[in-house]
Symmetry: C2
Subunit: 449 residues, 2 copies
């Protein structure tokens, strides 16, 4: 696209950094250089797969690697592994690695996230584990066979994936959370109820309304987790708290961060500093329904943002739309997911809403493998516009979340969903689509007010 | 809703008739009467499940019954079983059952479909079977254990379901079709290719470009099917040809039928005769993209149309939108589906189009159970509006077809899909949604023209 000879520097080797580098490389002139710095040993693996290797759903960590180092060399991306960028100079346009300086014409910041550190005594003990780097995960996995008891801090999405997989591995697993139910910060209790039941079957010990006070050790190794409700014996504490943007570098350089701690970017992923872009978990972006800035989204969001940042850095002109945040995951044996905010957050934020709820089925009710599906649509009581959704079921949650995100972005109403056309075929879909049933229930409720 | 005392008469006990009767019953005044006539022994079972009982995917025919006769008595619907309506008098507002007359204030015609009869010698032989009535299916199923060879006429959706299930049952199954590939009237060859491979593995013998000439018999029993390409020995011939609206009664009464043979209805499912409505496979409705009338849709469509007809007959004012026809089914071990027209029909109709194709995956590529998914979007080359879609894969086809139908109705473009947000979670969704990948491929193709 651009014929200019430019130096592209990318900080960070996660989904945002890698997609930015690849996109810039594809659009920049061949005589441009694309250099990516990562403090880790690897890029292009799937950190999201780690819990499932621990749970033996996936046989080996090597399955998680998606590209080789040679691939990137081959397409002309210079990746500097084990290389921590220590400073960004915006005036003189270089990044520092210790005393070394690397000049840039275009800089893309994709420094990702860290786990919000619970500021409690004992957090540095041997046995406190963070799920992020694949090499640490490999070492951790080797120890798991001899470990009997683990406490997971907190019932976040990652905490739930870890707890489910560790319990499946046969380890006594304690899930400790200050909230009243699983994923209480984002999900509704009625949606998480089947996951909780599944966890009970798997033997996960759930401690709700429980605050971690201290990690106790012996010979500098974890011995127990002291909580507001008593002591939990364990050899390992896994920190799976909420994600916090990793922006020390940006802050020190004078790049503006927003209210969430994420780098402020416009709809072109520009930071406001000429030639400097940001993408992924280190940024904050606009939520499409509430119009407030949010952070801590998925690898898929990071990847898209990286594509936008990389393309624009290379001279393209692409906008990134506000996000509606379809999400989905597996908790125990249950799939859960949603779009935008659930009922709990609508209540907490004081947004007028009506809840449209129904329980449907994923296939014909007589077909083997059929599962029940809870669908909840949260709608504006006046316009009937759907504002958010949450679901739980046995299959098809991810696809429905994508569908609902797309539709909610385009201002679909309860009426639209109530009369939607749907596939009916006994092995793959029921006569009545669960989303339509929920919308119909919502309209019936509104008609009776 | 209505306080008037009215006589509702419904002809037909399939999805359209049953939903019309139930909806009218719910909205009509309690002193109104709702009478439904069916020539069969049962209502409220799922005919779509029949092939899967033959294939032993579903253990028993009794699983297919969804409601009891007592249920309808209980809610005040008078069902006349084994009762063939022989005439409709529009002037004097009654239907005849032989010499008996039943007056109506509101009439809903839901007479369904018949299989287009291949007009060949031998069609009346013992051993020619139609998949429709559940009692006949039960009798047929008992014979299957002693049957060795079956020919299925043609590679229609039902023909494919029957062939796959009979082959799975261990019967030598021949699928005979005049077209060049499976479901050639609606689906594209590249989409049906994985189904064909699956059929080869299952041992289904496919005869394409093959016309049935004669069913030959011995002692009035089927002995073979004579075709344009030779004789196929078989004890049974299953007629699974295209659906034709069953409108002899309506035609004789003077109710107007359209170019497809379906009863002409407006957007309120009104026939044009005061107080007379129609719903389901006996009607034709408007296709949302091409704006031409079509017939032969799904049980889900019939059900929705019945709801509209029943509600309007009872005094409500509900419109039925043009249809975009999401479809999906299982062929062999493969799920296939789509929305509106595929590439083949766009070509045949001379509609300018670009094909956006990609192969994606249903979960993270390292996650057990991951399957490949072909997604093809057919778009307007000028506006980039998506006009139709076809897909093949291992999971999630029905949900994607619903999504695409909803989006295409709302005029979504390749750009919309290329940048759609999607759930990423290794066990249930890949980093890149296959629909987005197809849209991206389409845009890249358009950019290079």
């Amino acid at each position: 696209m651009s014929q200019e000879k430019l130096k592209f520097v990318i900080i960070g080797g996660g989904a945002g950094g890698i997609s930015a580098a690849s996109t810039a490389r594809g659009l920049a002139s061949p005589n441009s250089s694309v250099t990516l710095f990562t403090e880790f040993e690897d890029v292009a693996y799937s950190p999201c797969g780690i819990p499932f290797v621990h749970g033996r759903e996936i046989p080996d960590f090597k399955n998680l690697f998606l590209q080789t180092a040679e691939h990137y060399t081959g397409i002309g991306i210079d990746i500097r592994y084990n290389t921590k960028v220590t400073g960004i100079n915006l005036d003189k346009k270089f990044v520092s690695v210790g005393s070394e300086k690397f000049p840039w014409d275009r800089l893309i910041i994709a420094t990702g996230f860290e786990y919000g550190n619970p500021d409690i005594p004992g957090i540095d003990l041997d046995g406190v584990h963070y799920v992020k780097n694949i090499r640490r995960a490999m070492e951790f996995d080797k120890k798991l066979d001899s470990i009997k008891k683990i406490a997971v801090l907190s019932a976040s999405p990652l905490g739930i994936e870890m707890a489910g997989n560790l319990a499946q591995r046969g380890i006594e697993t304690h899930l400790v959370d200050e909230g009243g139910w699983l994923m209480s910060e984002v999900a509704d209790p009625d949606i998480m109820e089947p996951v909780q039941e599944s966890f009970e079957e798997l033997g996960v010990k759930m401690h709700f309304g429980t605050k971690a006070h201290e990690i106790r050790g012996q010979n500098s190794k974890v011995k127990s987790l002291m909580t507001s409700k008593g002591e939990i014996e364990c050899e390992v504490v896994i920190v799976a708290t909420h994600k916090v943007p990793n922006n020390t570098l940006s802050r020190e350089a004078g790049i503006k961060v927003g209210s969430t701690g994420g780098v402020l970017v416009d709809d072109h992923m520009r930071t406001g500093v000429d030639g400097v872009y940001a993408a992924g978990d280190c940024t904050e972006v606009v939520h499409g329904v509430t119009e407030i800035p949010i952070q801590g989204l998925s690898g898929s969001h990071a990847y898209s943002q990286g594509r936008i940042a990389g393309a624009n850095a290379a001279g393209d002109n692409r906008a990134y739309d506000p996000v509606y945040v379809p999400w989905g995951m597996v908790g125990g044996k249950i799939q859960i997911g949603g779009v935008s905010l659930g009922e709990t957050l609508h209540k907490a934020l004081g947004i007028p809403h009506v809840v449209a709820f129904s329980q449907g089925i994923s296939r014909a009710r007589y077909y083997p493998g059929v599962t029940r599906m809870r669908v909840k649509l949260i709608a504006d009581p006046k316009t009937h516009r759907v504002l958010g959704a949450q679901m739980a079921g046995g299959e098809g949650i991810k696809e429905r979340a994508d569908f609902l995100a797309f539709s909610i972005k385009r201002k679909a109403t309860l009426e639209d969903f109530a009369w939607m056309e749907n596939v009916y075929s006994p092995p793959i879909g029921a006569l009545m689509e669960p989303i339509a049933l929920a919308a119909q229930a919502g309209l019936a409720k509104l008609a009776n007010v």
